[in-house]
């Protein structure tokens, strides 16, 4: 037993490091491109590392970047486990942020802790609404969620632009002819507390705590069990008496809610107002999209999503700093992200192979241990 324990440990460590190796391989490809662009790859990657981990401030930036990624990723863990492909994170973040901002600006006389709590809840609810609509349409009208979430992203952007230039625009800016699509600034009392003299704010702790909550929800509650059951086999679930439609709606609702919370936290923790350049990315920084990648790097596991989000956040932050130091076009950074994603997702095959070998070994050792089987099955990153 101890021997098995040890070898399994080693095997798991390798598994955990596999995406890191894949990312390093991708950076090697990037090095060639950098060299072709007449930039020094060593200097460039030095800048990437420094930008992400080089100083307390750099690491704080990485965590700030990772916060929305992690929150979106938690939602993705829920929905993809339920076999619902939510690519509406961008729109859900926007609607959540709009709801939270509205609450924050409506009750300026109330105590800070209360308004922050209410606003974050509003963000949660706003995202839940936007995700829930897609879920409702899927469950009861058979409207595919990829279609509805893509379309609702676009709708959310226009909603945001409309509200931020009209009803929710900063009155200071509205008075001048040059209007900026942004809301008024939140009172100082409503800002999420900073954790250090950097931009690092309470959001990261909220996200990490919620990762545990989602873990508990998915594996320790009936609700979570049923969402996963529906995700694994709709017909069997229906046969077992699970109301499939209800859990499809719930999966998308929760998924949207976490994205909405991510949007709210961006407003209350980073910008202190809702601001955009007129596009979704301008506000979200593509976190609604990148969160999907982070979740899948974390094997759709809420707790593994924590390091996955931090590493992905580090890549994004570091790549920007690389652009600054060696003055490579920002397009290269995008290419690099793409290559990293493809390489990491491709490396999954080796992890799955090892997992299967372990499963076989475990099966031979202790057939009766059905719980192991259950655990292994649920870590399969197969939405």
């Amino acid at each position: 037993m101890t021997k098995l324990f040890r070898s399994e440990w080693a095997s798991r460590v390798i598994d955990a490091l596999l995406p890191v190796f894949a990312a390093l391989a991708a950076l090697l490809v990037g090095a060639v491109m950098l060299w072709l662009l007449k930039a020094n790859p060593m200097q460039a990657y030095g800048a990437l590392w420094d930008g992400a981990f080089g100083s307390a401030n750099a690491f704080a930036e990485t965590l700030v970047k990772a916060t929305p990624l992690l929150l979106v990723a938690l939602g993705i863990c829920i929905s993809f486990r339920g076999d619902v492909i939510n690519i509406g994170g961008e729109g859900q973040m926007i609607v959540g942020a709009l709801a939270a901002t509205w609450v924050g600006l409506a009750f300026t006389n109330w105590p800070g802790w209360l308004v922050i709590t209410l606003s974050l809840l509003a963000g949660f609810a706003g995202g839940a609404l936007w995700g829930g609509i897609a879920g409702y349409l899927k469950a009861y009208f058979k409207v595919n969620e990829i279609l509805s979430t893509v379309m609702m992203n676009a709708i959310a952007v226009q909603l945001m632009n409309f509200l931020l230039r009209g009803p929710m625009i900063d009155p200071d800016f509205a008075e001048r002819s040059a209007k900026i699509p942004e809301s008024a600034r939140l009172p100082d009392a409503f800002q999420l507390p900073r954790l250090a003299p950097t931009r690092l704010h309470l959001g990261i702790l909220i996200a990490v705590v919620l990762a545990f909550v989602v873990y508990f929800l998915l594996w320790r509650t009936t609700l979570g069990y049923r969402i996963r059951a529906v995700g694994q086999n709709v017909f069997a679930s229906r046969y077992a008496g699970i109301k499939v439609s209800r859990y499809i709606v719930t999966a998308l609702l929760l998924s949207g809610a976490f994205a909405g919370l991510a949007g709210a936290i961006q407003v209350f923790g980073v910008n202190y107002r809702m601001i955009t350049d007129g596009s979704a990315t301008g506000f979200t920084g593509s976190a609604g999209f990148n969160g999907i990648v982070a979740a899948l790097f974390g094997q759709l596991h809420p707790l593994l999503s924590i390091p996955a989000s931090i590493l992905f956040g580090a890549l994004l932050v570091g790549a920007n700093s690389m652009q600054r130091v060696v003055q490579v076009p920002s397009a290269l950074v995008t290419v690099l992200n793409g290559v990293v994603v493809v390489f990491v997702v491709s490396s999954e095959i080796w992890r799955r192979r090892r997992q299967r070998q372990r499963l076989a070994a475990a099966g031979a050792q202790a057939e009766a241990k059905s719980e192991t089987d259950e655990n292994l099955r649920t870590t399969e990153a197969q939405p």
Binding site: N57, S177, A196, R199, T276, P307, N320
Partner: protein, 344 residues
């Protein structure tokens, strides 16, 4: 066994988080050291954050071109050095870049986009020795180290509107615009006022694509204007290149803005309202060298040469219309023409 793996992942990530909270107590002293006065010899160093690409034929390119112009004028990189971050459309990333640049001891850090304002408001007080500039706005947040700058794009819009109303025969003029805020709105207001002042019966119809980058929709918007009887078009932002193509195809004159777009369609571009940011950047640099790091607000306009109506020599604009354009420019400069944009 499974749980140990999870536990490990957890502990690691928690440690990471704590590591960031803990020792970060030292705010970086980096800004202090290199900013210390070292007269002459050292080049003047500028860093700029641009929302789109340096070759976008629009807002970002105008700033890039301005910096290049200053560099040439001041005698090359030995005397004037600048670095840029382009495509910083994510406000949050821009904030990180601003902070980074500020801590590297640049003499001037430019945030070229009004969406960067709130980030700057946070960052500038932490770097009292660094000068910042941001636009387009008039708001320095009352900080002694922030310059504000804007473009009076309504002025160029007004001139374009006057000319458009004059050469239009159908008296229907179309505008292809991105979103209904900021400089775009200002341009529309100026343009509409120019048209109304010239020919009260002419109508201006405006389409917004809801995006800065939807080239296909912008092109179709231009086609739609043309099908609806428009015989003069204008528009702003980087997406209009497709729309200009449609204008060229149909032989419909186009009034350009931001950068000189004549090379795109020499046969239909009448003129371009071109931004010359170097005019006000030079004033800022002089102030910084004299020890004033901010607190003032600048505008490029027709009067100070920061905005120039550049005619396309290939477009056969009648001499009397061109004369009208020149007199309109003159009128705006000497104040005999005031642009009454109806404030909403």
């Amino acid at each position: 066994m499974k749980k140990f793996g999870l536990f490990l992942a957890l502990v690691l990530s928690l440690l990471l988080v704590l590591a960031a909270c803990g020792p970060a107590a030292t705010p970086e002293p980096a800004a202090e050291e290199p900013a210390a006065e070292e007269p002459a010899a050292e080049p003047f160093r500028v860093a700029v954050i641009l929302p789109s690409a340096i070759n976008d034929y629009a807002f970002s390119q105008s700033m890039y071109d301005g910096l290049v112009a200053i560099q040439e004028e001041m005698g090359g990189p030995d005397n004037f050095e600048f670095v840029y971050s382009e495509n910083m459309f994510v406000v949050d990333d821009a904030a990180a870049a601003l902070r980074d640049y500020a801590s590297q001891g640049f003499d001037l850090v430019i945030a070229h986009g009004s969406q960067y304002g709130s980030s700057l408001q946070e960052i500038a007080p932490d770097f009292p020795d660094v000068s910042f500039a941001w636009g387009t706005t008039v708001d320095t947040f009352g900080q002694p180290n922030i310059f504000a700058y804007e473009a009076a794009s309504d002025e160029g819009g007004y001139v374009n509107g006057v000319l458009a109303a004059t050469i239009s025969t159908s008296k229907i003029i179309g505008l292809v615009m991105p979103i209904e805020t900021g400089d775009a709105k200002l341009y529309v207001d100026g343009f509409t006022a120019g048209v109304a002042a010239t020919d009260p019966n002419a109508t201006v119809s405006v389409t917004y694509t809801g995006s800065f980058s939807d080239t296909a929709l912008a092109a179709e918007a231009a086609s739609t204007h043309i099908a609806a009887g428009t015989d003069v078009l204008s528009g702003t932002s980087q997406m209009v290149v497709g729309a200009i193509g449609k204008a060229e195809e149909a032989g419909v004159p186009w009034f350009a803005s931001d950068a000189n777009q004549a090379p795109l369609a020499p046969s239909v571009i009448v003129d371009s309202q071109v931004y010359h940011w170097e005019v006000i950047l030079k004033q800022m640099i002089d102030l910084i060298n004299a020890g004033t790091l901010g607190g003032q607000s600048f505008a490029i306009n027709l009067a100070n040469g920061g905005e120039v109506i550049e005619y396309n020599p290939d477009y056969p604009l009648p001499a009397d219309v061109k004369a009208l354009g020149d007199s309109t420019v003159q009128g705006i400069i000497d104040g005999s023409i005031t642009i009454s944009t109806t404030a909403e």
